[in-house]
Symmetry: C2
Subunit: 224 residues, 2 copies
């Protein structure tokens, strides 16, 4: 019975996510969905990413948490529209939350919408938010076997970001093995190792984002 | 509708968990349930803890993961009964899984049963496993605001273990603030900072465990 309900909830979510995806296509919005454990560095990645954009860049962020608006407050300092989605116990964001909060902030394309999911390597992977790409973050303080233990998200993510590489000298972590484990689950997954603190790997990450944007939006700017 | 099903599932779980708790009481088994994000150090804590016990100590471990039996293989090296519970997608352990696997390994008290939950700071907190105490692990590479963002588990845990303190010189982490945030959610939560790598704080952790064991089991050894 529980599985039947899960199926129904996911079915409704998929229908709403398809509508969001069509809207993103129509408005030339690149939407990416960042997923990781709590504390893998999603918010810091976004802070450093927002800091690279011109002040008038068409960029917005929706950030999910069980409780608190700490992340939204951190991210709002960069001057772009940011909205905290407090799930109040729900372990993931869903398409309905994205639709509602997107309407409330009144964000329209062309542009980039970053979604920072609730910190959880399991549940968010099942919920399509209409994004062009899921991005999974794994920090070097976790463990090389995480892709094998949490295959769902590594299978569905287009890109794996290995974060906090500045800590590599202080931990026993084999980056090549972590990458190899991710490729066992998803041979085509893109991979970038970076440190938001030192900036290592950051230009690669911004290039990846740009390439994805060019892929999904027309080469000449559409009417706004 | 979904909430009603959640309620029913949790109701069934609570009934089974109460049976487990009664069994643990009857058999003088101290059961603790370790909960944290993926990569906070649950398995390493257990490895170092098992290493402190005499070879014939009455100790067993049930360890949950979405996929792989990596953790059970790591833990089995210490010679105690260890069973991997592969949840196959389910984001938490439940009382039924504990009951079944406990029967299969044939573990009887008096003794200590460690449960290592699926790596997830959200969902496992709602599922009572009959344990005497939930223990939440937070590593110094995560963030001081995690207790505020994930209040459910900090409210329900008897003990907060701050792990990986050997990394403190290399990260910007304020342990006192993390502790203070946990106390905002749960004023009586016990707190131990430790490093499984260096052994710092380990004697405190073992003392806490012993004190809990003495509290729940009779002072003179019961018949076996």
């Amino acid at each position: 019975m529980r599985e039947a309900v899960e199926k129904k909830v996911l079915g409704e979510n998929d229908r709403l996510a398809a509508e969001l995806r069509e809207r993103f296509r129509r408005e030339n919005i690149l939407c990416v969905n960042l997923i990781s454990s709590p504390g893998s560095g999603k918010t810091m990645l976004l802070e450093k990413t927002l800091a690279t954009f011109p002040k008038d860049a068409p960029v917005a962020v929706l950030t999910g948490d069980i409780q608190t608006d700490n992340d939204a407050r951190r991210l709002a300092r960069y001057g772009f529209p940011v909205r905290q989605i407090v799930t109040g116990g729900t372990c993931h964001l869903d398409a309905r939350m994205i639709d509602r909060h997107l309407n409330e902030i009144g964000f329209h394309g062309p542009g980039i919408l970053f979604i920072e999911n609730v910190g959880n390597l399991v549940c968010p992977s099942s919920y399509d938010l209409g994004e062009a790409a899921k991005i999974v973050l794994l920090s070097v303080t976790e463990g090389e076997d995480k892709p094998l233990k949490y295959p769902g998200i590594f299978l569905r993510a287009s890109l794996m970001l290995l974060t906090k590489t500045d800590l590599l000298p202080h931990v026993e972590f084999d980056s090549a093995l972590a990458h190899e484990n991710a490729r066992k689950i998803h041979p085509d997954i893109a991979y970038i190792a970076l440190s938001a603190r030192t900036g290592e790997g950051f230009s690669q990450w911004l290039s990846w984002l740009n390439a994805l944007r060019e892929k999904i939006t027309p080469p000449v700017a559409a009417a706004h």
